[in-house]
Subunit: 368 residues, 2 copies
């Protein structure tokens, strides 16, 4: 919440409200113009949780402005491809994109930090940093270079570590592993000897079946189940250490953002923030049952060995140090985010973790 | 998000937007009437996190309606006392209250379930249940009996287990313990032999100092620090098992809710949902530094012994079974919430918990 803008607006609004209905009417018509935007999602409609967050947000915006501010949501591929969403919003082809900013890390690694990097903040730490730790401002300083304004809109929570045809017991099992994984996660796995592959969602299953691919990562139980990977790569590893609290973002063309009346800016900001919470609640509601179905259907749950997590952690931090040495944007954002990771995992181990641990013991004992 | 109402509203809005500015103006004036509400908070302004959530929400409502829907927020005691907030909204003395519904468990234990009961859902499980598990509807069915409509607005996360003059090592140390604690937490501790006390916030410190009180619970590091308990009762226990994910609620007089235009209802709903996320982010941002300051100032962190947690868990579940036997509202809500606790703690121990655990090990090793 930007409390300052709310407070200013509240005072101004009081004056307008004092006018008579007749006098106020033209002012209202001016202050609530008809605005229609197009938003391109980086996601297909089949990912109803992630794609759905943009629709939830857009529906709230429309309802809160009595239909005067409408955002039409288009699935990936309807206007531009999923990975062209950011560029389309920057160019003004569309007014907005709902995307994972880490898709653009190849242009600049700092893009990854708006979503997540391996061993980054969990969902609550991401929110603490974003909403109260200066994260929103730092990210927007970076997005502004592209003519964009970002609003966080959704989180998946810690993802799963993907599907493997064979068990992964030691670091040697990573060497030469052909895995469908992108972004900084792929870069870290590459440092451990894996061979990251870029394959479109629909092509993963046949590649795993044929064995031209050894492993893939997707999201978590609810989304993974739909693609049926458990049938051809049954080892289901956790945690997805490259996605500890990945946030989605609505990237708005900055000129279009600035043209909005203050009222609509607050409507858009609040709708995104509400959808941010909504998407996490949605995942938390649907993932447990999906996990149980997957296991019933033959998925074999496996934790990553500590040896692999530790090697990946060290490799990741070496990569961040290397990038930080030459990329001031990455360094500024990562240094700020790191404080919330470090302090967050200190505090979390006191109340939150001990509560969850005790409750998980009760769960395992069948007492819940 | 109530998608259905959003979708309906979106379609209706499209028609209105098609009208000319002149024709549309009177309709706009009608659909956005000037509405001024009073909201009484159950909290003092000094609890800036909890009290602040109502202000954040009210400011968003005003900004999103260009000042036409104003909610004036009053601290506890300005209109009615903190524990009279619900009754004041039900009676129409005020239009709304921002409160913890468990304050009213004495009238009916089912009230507690809108906030939390001991060993209830954590914050994310509460949201999953509330927004996607039918929780909102079940709670509102119960609130409707009092002529109220509730909107979840904030969460503190797992709280701390309070301040103790002496160490608590065994169940015997609980017997006769004069502790300032209310609600079902007090009822459970009472079953273990403690003597719960009801004391206003300002009177706790001198009572602890004199020794007429042995222990107290408040919230967590950030709020607790202000009251200085570490100086007179230095043992700071965790976790606060009676508050695993306590939610705050905006209780609205149901008639007033129903009188609102649909547009304002969505504005109010979305502003509450955004503030729900905002308060948790606020706590997560400020608690870590407060915890470090408390420890530096002499607070002695202690985990509750397992023996005590287990005895409290069993006593709590016996109480829920007893209440459920005679109270259909409690039974219906608790049975529904229990599913999200049970399934949530199953899923949490896979991805989320193993990620957090690994990261906490890195934190302890000074690697974050």
């Amino acid at each position: 919440m930007d409390r300052r803008s709310f407070l200013t607006k509240a005072s101004v609004g009081g004056v307008a409200a004092a006018g008579s209905a007749v006098l106020a009417a033209p002012a209202i018509a001016q202050s609530m113009p008809t605005v229609t935007w197009r938003l391109t999602s980086s996601f297909p409609k089949s990912l109803d949780t992630i794609y759905g967050a943009a629709e939830t947000m857009a529906n709230a915006v429309s309802a809160m402005t009595d239909g005067k501010f409408k955002i039409q949501v288009f699935a990936a591929g309807e206007i531009v491809g999923g990975l062209q969403a950011m560029d389309a919003a920057a160019a003004g082809t569309v007014e907005a994109a709902h995307t994972a900013t880490y898709y653009y890390w190849g242009k600049d690694p700092a893009w990854a930090l708006g979503t997540c990097v391996p061993f980054g903040p969990n969902q609550r730490q991401m929110n603490a940093w974003y909403y109260y730790g200066g994260g929103r401002d730092l990210l927007n300083k970076f997005y502004a270079k592209k003519g964009l304004y970002g609003l966080q809109c959704g989180n998946t929570g810690v993802q799963m570590g993907g599907w493997y045809r064979k068990e992964i017991k030691t670091l040697d099992d990573i060497k030469g592993l052909k895995m469908r994984i992108g972004g900084t996660g792929g870069k870290v796995l590459s440092a451990l000897g894996a061979v990251p592959q870029q394959i479109a969602g629909g092509d993963i299953y046949p590649a795993l079946e044929k064995g031209t691919l050894d492993a893939c990562e997707w999201v978590g139980p609810y989304d993974d189940e739909k693609l049926g990977f458990y049938k051809v790569a049954p080892y289901y590893y956790y945690p997805g250490w490259w996605e500890g609290g990945p946030a989605l973002t609505t990237l708005v063309n900055k000129k279009k953002w600035e043209e909005l009346p203050k009222q609509y800016q607050t409507v858009l900001m609040t709708a995104n923030q509400a959808a941010d919470l909504d998407m996490m609640a949605h995942y938390d509601a649907v993932n447990p049952a999906a996990l149980k179905r997957l296991v019933a259907n033959g998925a074999k749950l496996r934790p990553f060995p500590k040896e692999i997590l530790s090697a990946a952690f060290d490799a990741a931090h070496k990569i961040y140090a290397d990038i930080s040495a030459t990329n001031p944007s990455f360094k500024e954002i990562w240094d700020s985010q790191s404080v919330y990771i470090r302090e967050g995992f200190l505090w979390d181990q006191v109340a939150e973790y001990t509560y969850d641990t005790f409750m998980m013991i009760q769960q395992q004992a069948g007492k819940l």
